[in-house]
Symmetry: C2
Subunit: 476 residues, 2 copies
């Protein structure tokens, strides 16, 4: 029998067990690198490892990623920000043509053509697109990212995020809200009407607000939201709340029509995902900072178009490594089930690419109510990602892990070497055009895209140091 005086020693013991288990797992490097790499990739991994540029190049990629300071500076038409002309459209994920486009991408493209006055209805849009009369390109090829179908056309207002360090920019459309929305492939008149309101009212009003207020520090908002139960991909309730607090005073003082101000506040207030369209371009700015460093094995894009899942790696430039898009495991909205689900879609995986989203799930345990699973899964997902990442984010921290930084900067060779795939949270689009969102869940990327990326890195490797023992300097 244990006796207690005023200090509850026994309870502390119990709680220490908890703390110890947590500390042990957080602090101990799980030795998954002891496992054999994905079969067939040994030679490529060896070639990349023999590339003397790799270590420094990859370190430089992730250094640039975490040094990025994304600030929301303006909202302008895509025509102006991205140089999009009439008939030019961006979409999520790797390149795809109309013939191979998924239902949500076709629905969103049709909606965007109707919105731009290029088509009367879906059938009309389908006919025009099938004739090759529209031009398609990935958002990622224009410093942009788009959630779900990710369709951007010339008249749509886009948020401009600027890096406080070097002035680079990244872009994303305004979040349309929930229900039937273009990004989930819906194109009904209400969808088009909302796009017009975004263009004519909300976009200009936010532009006025930001010019009046000055830039919004998106990195700071993400950092705070991670301490408030968001992971800033599938849960953005805290971040959207904080964003409203940041911009409302200046919104109120724009001198705009009172009914427009109220409508703007109600619109953002009605959609907890509004902030996603800022966390995404914030990630894009960070990932792009780490691009195009020869020898770097850091992943700079993971993106899907509902047909293919693709990645890009710093050391291989704009080359996409793709595989068929996987399906998402998750929870469905009432009235929908797996048979209604499209395949994995959207550029929102830029969040996981840059240390938040599924990689920060431990900060957002309540998200399991939305995407399924247990609270321990949320912790596991984050802990596992330390195995395939290059650093811990200096600004994005997880309170429950003792304020450890989130696992940031995916190393393609670590993925192939360990067999551990990135953890991704995502929404689920209906498979047919016009349906909208049907659920949300978790998805596992295809391993082959990482294997292919490592192969491409191996082909570009400069094995000058192949005969040099590890730790020895090359002759200069």
């Amino acid at each position: 029998m244990i006796q207690l005086d005023d200090s509850p020693a026994m309870v502390t013991v119990g709680a220490s067990l908890f703390a110890d288990a947590l500390t042990a797992q957080v602090a101990t490097p799980l030795q998954v690198q002891w496992a054999p790499p994905v079969a067939g990739s040994e030679v490529d991994l060896a070639a990349v490892a023999a590339d003397m540029r790799t270590h420094a190049a990859t370190a430089e990629s992730v250094r640039r990623l975490i040094a990025t300071s994304p600030r929301w500076v303006d909202v302008v038409p895509a025509r102006e920000a991205l140089g999009l002309g009439s008939g030019e459209f961006l979409h999520a994920g790797p390149p795809v043509d109309w013939a191979n486009a998924s239902g949500p991408v076709r629905g969103a493209l049709a909606g965007a053509m109707i919105y731009e006055g290029l088509a009367q209805n879906f059938e009309d849009a389908e006919r025009i697109a099938a004739q090759g009369a529209i031009s398609l390109a990935p958002c990622h090829s224009r410093s942009a990212v788009g959630p779900m179908a990710g369709v951007v056309s010339a008249s749509m207002p886009v948020s401009v995020l600027e890096d406080g360090e070097d002035g680079r920019r990244a872009y994303c459309t305004l979040n349309e809200g929930l229900g039937k929305v273009l990004r989930y492939g819906a194109y009904a008149p209400e969808v088009i009407d909302r796009l017009r309101w975004l263009e004519r009212v909300l976009g200009p009003l936010l532009s006025q607000t930001l010019r009046r207020r000055g830039p919004v520090d998106v990195r700071s908002l993400i950092a705070q939201a991670l301490q408030m139960g968001d992971e800033c991909h599938n849960r953005n309730r805290a971040a959207t709340s904080l964003l409203l607090r940041e911009i409302t005073p200046d919104l109120l003082e724009t001198g705009a029509r009172s009914e427009d101000i109220v409508a703007a506040f109600r619109f953002i207030n009605g959609n907890d995902h509004f902030f996603l369209n800022l966390s995404m371009p914030a990630g894009k700015l960070g990932a792009d900072a780490g691009r195009d460093i020869p020898g770097s094995t850091m992943v700079v894009a993971m993106a899907r178009n509902g047909t293919e899942f693709g990645i890009q790696v710093s050391g291989t430039g704009d080359q996409w490594f793709t595989a068929p898009a996987p399906s998402v495991k998750g929870l469905y909205f009432p009235g929908f089930g797996p048979e209604d689900a499209g395949l994995d879609i959207g550029d929102s995986t830029i969040t996981e690419t840059t240390g938040i989203g599924g990689f920060a799930m431990a900060a957002a345990p309540a998200i399991v109510l939305f995407v399924g699973g247990e609270v321990s899964d949320a912790l596991d997902n984050t802990l596992r990602m330390y195995e395939i990442t290059l650093t811990e984010h200096p600004s994005y921290k997880v309170p429950i892990l003792g304020f450890r930084g989130t696992p940031t900067g995916i190393d393609a060779t670590l993925v192939v070497r360990s067999g551990v795939l990135p953890s991704v949270n995502t929404g689920i689009a209906g498979r047919e055009p016009g349906v909208g969102q049907v659920g949300a869940g978790l998805v596992v990327p295809p391993m082959s895209v990482f294997v292919d990326a490592v192969r491409a890195l191996a082909r570009r490797a400069e094995p000058r140091g192949a005969l040099t023992a590890p730790g020895m300097k090359e002759p200069s």
Copy 2:
């Protein structure tokens, strides 16, 4: 050597260790009741245990507590809501007179007298008060609660919270913001000017907003904020954000002067603790629901006035059990240290009395940056409180504990029996009148007040069942 295929089994094992430790501690009743009770209290505990009313009475107290549905319905002058006349003042904690009042209470009373036009300055107020020309009563005696010094005077606007179930009401002043404020004993002209603005602008504007909007569901906001890193005593950032989202649309549509609307938004937006003055009366409504049930051992008030720490228990009516107020262990603002600190003060312990605050710290691990300690302390505090509480709150849940309800309804006999004292988060007031807040931290209530309460319960016990074996029914 463990080999991995696509599924990272080893990592899952590691994470299960964590999950198991968590589950074990959450699920296993730690057997602290095996420890001997506080010396000298055995006879009283036995007498209370022999009171056949106790079990049902205590269960009814906590049932009523958790059934309470607090809604913010209006903001009205204290004169009207609480029937306060000129020269009548409420204060935090158990009863105290001017001669024994702490520095912060004296400062706040002087400020309130200046604000009400009853005194010109501190010395003037001190003289008038020392003559016994003012009337003092605890907030708790008037269905009200007040943070820190907790001073309420007739002209101050107070929030009205109403129970959706039975229409009972509870009251609290509007939070004045940070820095030099009346509740921390400051009385400078800026403090008085702010009180006038609350009375003339913010109070009426919030009243208009609430009448236009209808009641705000405070229970729902607390429940959501606990999933967003707040514990709703010393951390209210999420709750204040959600509150702003709830009221701003109607605030904008009141038709009030635009500059007043902007000032109101900026004022609430500038103070993450604004919501505390709603979580406190929400707690008061719940605690009062459990009052005055003969035989009930549930604590219905824990409150401090900077001189004494006092509690009230359901079965002993309005009787206070008091002891000298303890000092707070915590973190100090720059330029301050323990030598500047007043003793424990305020009615904000109503949060811990009703299952949030320190009892919900596991939901708010980031709070350790404000009150000190490690993340594991936050978890420990909540886990330990299950030992002295009657139930788990059905609405207030902690995601990281697998959505377990917060430990709710303190049983005075469990405190004495186990030696486990309530965990309280709190602000630290400067010891001298006029200073303001100097820090924040954790405080441990004096055990003697619980011992005294159990003694009083024992004296009122009706040992009709003393000769009846446990489980046998009394003859009717």
